[in-house]
Point group: C2
Chain length 454, copies 2
């Protein structure tokens, strides 16, 4: 075979440390604020929700944080993940550019999410926690945490956004298979859920509401902590194993990316692939262009405001300095459920504010068209979230061809679409609708906010 | 990390040749017979159905058949597949034995089936064929062939057993995503389908019926050939890439199996993992015990007759010398759809007849219990077919512990269960029924046969 398709690493090359970009950022994010006092939160404020080691990681500015052996041992079920040269896609596009992708869908849960679910479950287990509560939208995160909890013998309770709970029954069963309890959210199990149901008994739910429910369960139960699958600093840091491996793989391929692309929901997938490359940008090394891709139906990075906002709908979480559409913003029901979140993590928001990263928004029909081209040329059927990255890759390759240059483009194929085929069915039938949010809707949502400006 | 979990190979270590066990068998299988004349079939009889290169491979007794570069290139999307040491499962069992598994679920279609779908599509393309027809039960084979056809630009038409077509809609969409046309079988598109529907308009379908439909489409259309996902000699040979890689990986692990186990439907999965090891048995090398595991609801190896029988229900295929329950036998609706087939391939049947391999039958509740233990300890949710192998592994490990010995056990984890979670749901709810076939049902089915005895 003339062309090598996969660039693989040995089990011994699984990273030994996570990379903490806080160490290298020129401007650190502003501190999260207590939802009541509006003062910076301290470790004690977070202790009811998180084990102390994760609270330490959340505020740490150490550049490298060691990955425990037990975590690396579980990582080895699917890590190191393969990197591919996308010869099939390149050929179909007729592009001069070189396209690489890192494939995270090989994890048992089918996405990059176990990279942080496993250490989160581990630190909870180490501190004697018996149960973790969480929320899930499309189901990727809930699956990942269920998997991780099962391996460490911890109970897991998942509040799953009602539209997904009803539309993706097999995601629920997957979580059950790993022993988790799954509830449709809003539920009548929590004060937060009951409040929403009182206003609207037919509420389809949202990630923000499900977070409120999961946080409440953890706050009220001594033996239960809460776990979040994106947004927070420690979550983004855990995902850097993706980019750290990709750096080595690029070196093995004798190449280096000009552009690194990932879909954007809360920031964990994007951080995972880009931060280890941005470390070079920030410390005088080779420079990449990092592009976060969000759906036009939930455009917080490209059209949101940079200010303090809650992570959840009810207002129970700390206030985070973020690009946001407002915590009451309910995104249209696109199929990339993992990207339907009103805000962005503090670190990523600061990087965008400082011009260190870029963002684009793309409609879902363009994304599914890209996903179908990808599955027909590279073989792997991508998750709807991942198709956003692919669509941007295609745009960039076409742009480079138009300019007569060749770029080296890397993207994170964050998961497979095995549980999202009803979305492909609708796309193939021509039934997918693009939802571009009207400016007045965004304005109205932001006008409602009484959270501190920055 | 003290323990290495995965044994991986480089892309350059993808096998260059398939292994043909016909070269080493002490007794070759008897020839297939023409369904009309009952005389041995020649290449011309098969030419309407298969491209000439595959017909040659079907009768070849060369020990090694070269894998074309284009096929190895597509293989490299997911091959070499990882081999795992099952530390988690070993620990849960508290066994002294060592358990290894080869994981074929990393292919885009999610099982071992693309190992033969890709070369079959390739040889058809090389001989100018524009369309391939086939059948599928659980959907693994139809997905694999759709994937392979898409990559080589060939049309694909799949007759999918009605119960699966209705019960697994996402398998159908997966095939559509790769451009295939999928029909519920029995259909009114073929003479064979209309005949069945005339007898029973509510027929749930069977693999045998779907084969009749697909064969008819190929026989009647000049530009269309037929493709089968198991049973035939060339199909089994293509799957030996699994065992050839496993041999190398065992060597890297500094180990060698005492027992090699695989589920058994038509024989391709079993042949794939065991034949390269059996080559050692047959040529004076180290000896393994090879165990084929079938469901108690479809026990052709353990309770069938060894005689000539048709591969399909209507009687259009050549007569094959096989262990069979009779081509009219309709297996109970267990969830391992890929194992619901009345007969076994000629090679595997001869090996069983000659005492070179062994077979066991296991009930589905024991299999799902094993699958759940596996997913909770190793992380990967296995396909219902694959759980049959796991259940036998557990039996063997327990038996060895009882005897106070340590065995090295290898099995083929042939696919993931992402499209089979409704089966797990029923198992978790306690609703799965075990179907042990009454002897009089088998007797009656075999008594109906007017095919030649052996």
């Amino acid at each position: 075979m003339a062309q090598q398709r996969k660039i693989t690493l040995q089990e011994s090359e699984i990273p030994t440390h996570w990379y903490n970009i806080l160490a290298d950022m020129p401007n650190k994010p502003m501190p999260p604020l207590h939802p009541g006092t509006k003062q910076p939160v301290g470790p004690d404020d977070l202790a009811p929700l998180f084990p102390m080691e994760l609270i330490k990681q959340e505020v740490s500015t150490e550049k490298w944080v060691e990955i425990p052996d037990e975590v690396r041992n579980i990582y080895s079920i699917w890590r190191p993940t393969p990197m591919y040269r996308a010869y099939g896609l390149e050929k179909a596009l007729g592009t001069q550019s070189k396209i690489y992708y890192k494939y995270e869908g090989v994890s048992p849960a089918g996405s990059h999410k176990p990279n942080t679910a496993v250490p989160q479950a581990y630190y909870n287990k180490e501190e004697g926690i018996r149960k973790i509560s969480t929320e899930t939208g499309a189901g990727q995160w809930g699956s990942a945490l269920s998997f991780a909890c099962k391996l460490f013998g911890i109970s897991c309770e998942v509040f799953m956004v009602k539209v997904s709970y009803e539309g993706k029954p097999y995601r629920k069963v997957m979580m059950n298979t790993w022993g988790a309890k799954v509830h449709s959210s809003p539920s009548n199990l929590t004060e937060a859920g009951r409040k929403i149901l009182a206003q609207d008994p037919n509420s389809p739910g949202s990630l923000g509401i499900a977070i409120s429910e999961a946080v409440e369960v953890a706050a009220l139960n001594e033996d239960t902590k809460y776990s979040l699958g994106s947004v927070l600093n420690h979550v983004l840091m855990h995902q850097t194993v993706i980019g750290l491996e990709a750096l080595k793989q690029m070196e093995k391929a004798g190449d280096y990316p000009d552009i690194v692309i990932a879909p954007f929901g809360g920031g964990s997938n994007f951080a995972g692939i880009t931060f280890p490359f941005l470390a070079q940008n920030l410390t005088g090394g080779k420079k990449i262009k990092a592009i976060a891709v969000e759906p036009t139906s939930c455009p917080k990075l490209t059209r949101g405001a940079f200010r303090y906002d809650f992570g959840d709908t009810v207002g129970m979480t700390p206030l985070i300095p973020m690009y946001t559409l407002g915590h009451n913003f309910i995104p249209s029901p696109i199929h990339a459920g993992g990207l339907r979140y009103h805000g962005a993590g503090a670190i990523v928001s600061q990087l965008l504010k400082d011009g260190i990263i870029e963002a684009n928004a793309i409609n879902q029909n363009e994304c599914f068209e890209a996903g179908l081209l990808f599955s027909g040329t590279e073989g792997i059927i991508p998750a709807p979230e991942a198709t956003h990255g692919i669509a941007e890759v295609i745009r960039q390759a076409k742009q480079a061809d138009k300019e007569g240059v060749s770029k080296t483009i890397l993207f994170n194929l964050c998961g497979h679409g095995h549980f999202d085929l009803s979305a492909y069915e609708q796309y193939l039938a021509g039934n997918l609708v693009d939802y571009e949010v009207p400016q007045e809707v965004i304005n109205a949502s932001l006008a409602e906010l009484d959270t501190p400006a920055i």
